[in-house]
């Protein structure tokens, strides 16, 4: 499998704080690549840089070998990048369906497509509910449906399990399982059950730097990772 998204020596500082520290990462087409790391490691910031919401200080991001440079978010979405938000960013006054319709209109597609994306995120039954009346778990699913409506090739998931109960988590894992292979995913997640259920490869980010990358087995057995992140005996 070839690399779809290549992150090359990316660095970003917030004042004196280095949140992205010479990060290099290859994300392959169709692969689920998990990015784990403690709170404040810089995972969300990395996603925002890939999307073009934040500009890196140095380094480059290539999609299909083409540098994204200073392309706008809109241009990146058009090229196949999409993200979900750790804290749901949904349109509270609209129904779930209209949230998805907005994403369809944004790329000039027809509203008829909405149901198919809602279905993939298990949101069909709640399509006509106003978003302000949705539960947190439903909003997380809606986040996913909205992202799917942009027809991404590379989906950046920022903690899709965050705040979900056990039943909702299991459902979210199976929703994501259903998307496997159709698009590449960068899965930022603290929930190790989800990570090991879904990931083909795992990278570990600590203080802005990637300290290890490999298959789930390799990561599980990596002493640096156990020390820095997984603690002593988790999983």
């Amino acid at each position: 499998m070839s690399a779809l998204l290549v992150i090359d020596d990316l660095t970003k500082n917030f004042g004196g704080l280095r949140v992205t520290d010479h990060v290099c990462l290859d994300l392959r087409a169709g692969e689920v690549h998990a990015l784990i790391g403690p709170n404040g490691a810089g995972k969300t910031t990395l996603i925002s840089q890939i999307m073009g919401e934040l500009a890196p200080d140095s380094g480059a991001i290539h999609l299909d070998g083409v540098p994204l440079g200073s392309l706008s978010q809109a241009a990146r979405v058009k090229r196949g990048l999409a993200r979900t938000f750790q804290v749901p960013q949904v349109l509270g006054e609209y129904t779930a369906r209209d949230n998805v319709v907005a994403a369809l209109y944004a790329r000039g597609a027809s509203a008829n497509e909405a149901d198919q994306h809602l279905a993939r995120a298990a949101m069909s039954a709640r399509a006509d509910v106003r978003v302000s009346d949705l539960s947190h778990g439903e909003r997380k699913q809606l986040e996913l449906a909205i992202a799917l409506a942009t027809r991404p090739r590379m989906l950046l998931l920022d903690e899709p399990m965050a705040g979900l109960g056990p039943v909702e988590s299991t459902q979210m894992i199976s929703i994501l399982q259903g998307l496997r292979g159709e698009m590449a995913m960068l899965l930022v997640e603290h929930d190790m059950k989800a990570v090991f259920a879904l990931a083909d490869r795992i990278s570990v980010l600590v203080y802005g730097a990637i300290i290890a990358s490999g298959t789930p087995q390799e990561i599980q057995n990596d002493p640096r990772v156990r020390e820095a992140y997984l603690g002593t005996g988790e999983d």
Binding site: A74, V77, F85, Q89, G92, D98, A102, Y105, I146
Partner: protein, 319 residues
């Protein structure tokens, strides 16, 4: 049901109004209501930016005034026969002048919007106000067109063979423009553009993440909004056959904001209701006491608190 009933009742009342006013022997009420409709149109125009786009502009008096001056200047040149800047001759035709007013105010909104929309929140309020003040002082200094005295012209612009001097006729012409404008608003807001614009108001970050060029959509909304304000200014200039920099005093921008909030920003008819309520209150209190402004202020605060979401949402779902 009530969604169609009230607008139809309102329209029926307006259609009958000139007859009613004549019957009760107060023809001045015709002009008062024409003023209300014109300011209602201006507030409705502001509402495209404010209520639907979430853009709190305190500078719409500029577009309103520019629309009015387009009429004043074109009409003056038509009367004097001297071409504007020695290039184009003026016109006395309402349709031509209204088009000019809408285009010119739209261009002003395009320029001001392109700069102001780089900011947001309180900064946006301040920068739109600043631009409007610049325009205000520009016209104040424009001696060729009357400076602070403004411009007076003898006759209203002509429309077909209508007797535009007749206040009732002009009332109906204004009503026609208002209805066309509200129709355009409804069309725009139920379009793809309207859905995306509403999304930007609710969460701009979300809209950017789905690939919307939010700046461009807000800019379009601001331009349409400025055009509507220019149309209102054009009608107001014709109503009084007079334009002056007073039209674009910043308090006009403030009043338009109050009308939107009072009537219900983000609804189609709310700003028009708000204009009727505000102008109606002003006119009524004015006849009771000279300290009417001291009463109007607290009264407005009470009304806004009592009718959360605006007059147009009474009995409906609270936002």
């Amino acid at each position: 049901m009530r969604k169609i009933l009230f607008p139809i009742l309102g329209l029926a009342l307006l259609l009958a109004w000139p007859f009613v006013a004549e019957k009760i022997g107060s023809p001045a009420l015709i002009t008062l209501f024409t003023r209300m409709m014109i300011l209602g149109l201006a507030a409705s125009a502001l509402n495209i930016a404010l209520g639907f786009g979430g853009l709190v502009s305190l500078g719409h008096a500029a577009f309103y005034g520019i629309g009015a001056y387009a009429i004043g200047i074109s009409t003056t040149h038509a009367i004097s026969g001297e071409p504007f800047l020695g290039l184009v001759s003026g016109s006395n035709l309402l349709i031509v002048n209204v088009l000019v007013a809408v285009v010119v105010s739209g261009m002003a909104a395009a320029i001001i919007g392109a700069l102001a929309l780089r900011t947001s929140g309180i900064q946006f309020i301040m920068i739109t106000l600043a631009f409007a003040q610049m325009v205000f002082f520009l016209f104040l200094a424009l001696k060729a067109y009357g400076g602070d005295d403004g411009l007076t012209f003898r006759r209203r612009n002509a429309l077909f063979d209508l007797n535009m001097r007749d206040d009732a006729t002009f009332f109906y012409v204004t009503l026609g423009f208002l209805l066309v404008w509200l129709g355009i608003c409804a069309r725009v807001l139920h379009s793809r553009f309207g859905l995306l614009l509403g999304g930007i108001r609710q969460n701009e970050r979300r809209m950017q993440a789905i690939g919307v060029n939010t700046f461009r959509l807000k800019w379009f909304a601001f331009i349409i909004s400025g055009m509507g304000a220019g149309l209102a200014g054009a009608l107001m200039a014709n109503l009084g056959r007079f334009v002056s920099p007073d039209l674009m005093h910043w308090t006009t921008s403030g009043e338009l904001l109050i009308m939107c909030v009072l009537g219900g920003s983000g609804t189609i008819l709310g700003p028009v209701l708000g204009a009727f309520a505000l102008i109606g209150l002003e006119a009524t209190l004015n006849t009771w006491t000279e300290h009417w402004q001291a009463i109007l202020g607290p009264l407005l605060v009470l009304m806004v608190l009592a009718f959360r979401g605006g007059l147009a949402r009474i009995g409906g779902r609270k936002p």
